[in-house]
Amino acid sequence: MITFRPVADHAILVDFADTLSDAAHAAVLHLDQALAARPCAGFREAIPAFVNLLVDFDPLITDHRAVETHLRGLLDHPAAATSLPAQREVLVCYDDDLAPDLASVARMTGLSTETVINAHLAGDYAVFLYGFAPGYAYLGGVPKPIQLDRKPAAVRGVAAGSVIIAGPQCLVTTLTMPTGWWIIGRSPTQILTGDPERPFLFDVGDKVRFRRITRAEFASGGGA
């Protein structure tokens, strides 16, 4: 059941479901792509999330009804499947001093630290949405055996580049910030690339794999 909900004078939220589902998220990404290919008059930007797409528009040019009509048209006449999602690689070093919670995760899951690392590396991840801060891409796909609830309290001053997990989600931080997630490694991969042509490493929907690197490779920025 697709629901269109007005948001103030300048946006519309297209809800595909109330709760998380793969089908709802796939529908979000499909509509997001279709809208990017065929934007309506007055379109400003779209923000994909787990189960909905927010479409922001200029109220001096269009209104909720016209935007809804356009979006319904895109849903009624779906474009042929576009290109497959891009595959991105993120490097990660799991050395103790860069992974302060690895031992705790191992203890709480009853696994060895090497098994935790291998489980993390084995995950097939996808970018579900960005949020919280610039470049904070929420990756779904943490394997079940290493899924843990977040910590009861946040830890301050967690370094940028930390690879953190909570529940089914994984994130590579871009800023030094507090977090209540489990810090299991550090990555030299820059999500904020500094490249004006492509300032963010991921698009929402991209697939992500982690690749383990040594401390020496980490120290040299990934050995790339």
Binding site: V7, A8, D9, L13, Y130, F132
Partner: protein
Amino acid sequence: MADAVFKTVFAGPHASIQDGGRRGLMRFGVPASGPMDRKSFALANLALGKDADAAGIEISMGGLVLDCVSGATTLAIAGGGFIVERDGARLGSWSTLPIRAGQKLTIRPGPWGSWTYLAFAGKLTATQWLGSAATHALSGFGGGKLTTGQEITITDAIQHSDAITAIACPIWARPRQHLHVVLGPQDRYFSAAALQALLTEPFYLTSAYDRMGLRLRGPSLAPDAALSIPSEAILRGSVQVSGDGVPTVLLSDHQTTGGYPKIATVLADDLDGFVQLRTNDAVAFKAITAPQAVQLARTRAAAIATVYAKVRDLAGR
């Protein structure tokens, strides 16, 4: 043309470089940022004949003191009712004034308002991030916060005239206590009693107020269920309610997604006046339909455009 250089003698906690903001990047976790009170910021620029979105300085109630150390230029100050002094001679905000090497500019809070804006006749040198000098407070990206001792360089600085000129303060630049909202997009998670409380009871600004958002105090709006929903987009103006029933209005540097339900969203144009309120001021929410909100936005935009054109014309003389 020459440069004018200022030295920051004192900068309050929220003085930062802003411009029209960086739009279109919320899908990457980046809010637009830009001035808290967009219209006053635009008026400061327009009063100098500049582009409405040109880079300038946002000043909070923490104030700002600058020494002009070389060159000369004209300043415009708009937004709030701040106290402005040039070498101790007292002026108000809402004026343009010439300044030259050896003179001191002091800006501190006055009778009303929480934010004021300083524009320069010339080009403010500022670090850009993703095509904009707007400072994102959480990351410090963009032009950045001003710190004591920092130099500010205005290139192609010009001094328009020797006169101090008033900028007319439009009625809509005053603090706004009545906010129009469109209910939702998650009003369905709230009881009829909570929705009625939102629309009939006063709420008060707390001191939990920064560029990310402003927490309100008032009756509890605890949602019926859905303490957290799957994270979804947040906008400037979203009224999100945490599990304890406390509403927060999200502002210029808002998080782009979050999992608290949004009971309502404030009309974009009402936010400029809202941010000029102060701690313990009261606000009242009034629900309007989405078509009414669009109509109101258009009516307002037409009136604002008329004032902008007038200010721009005066600057041209």
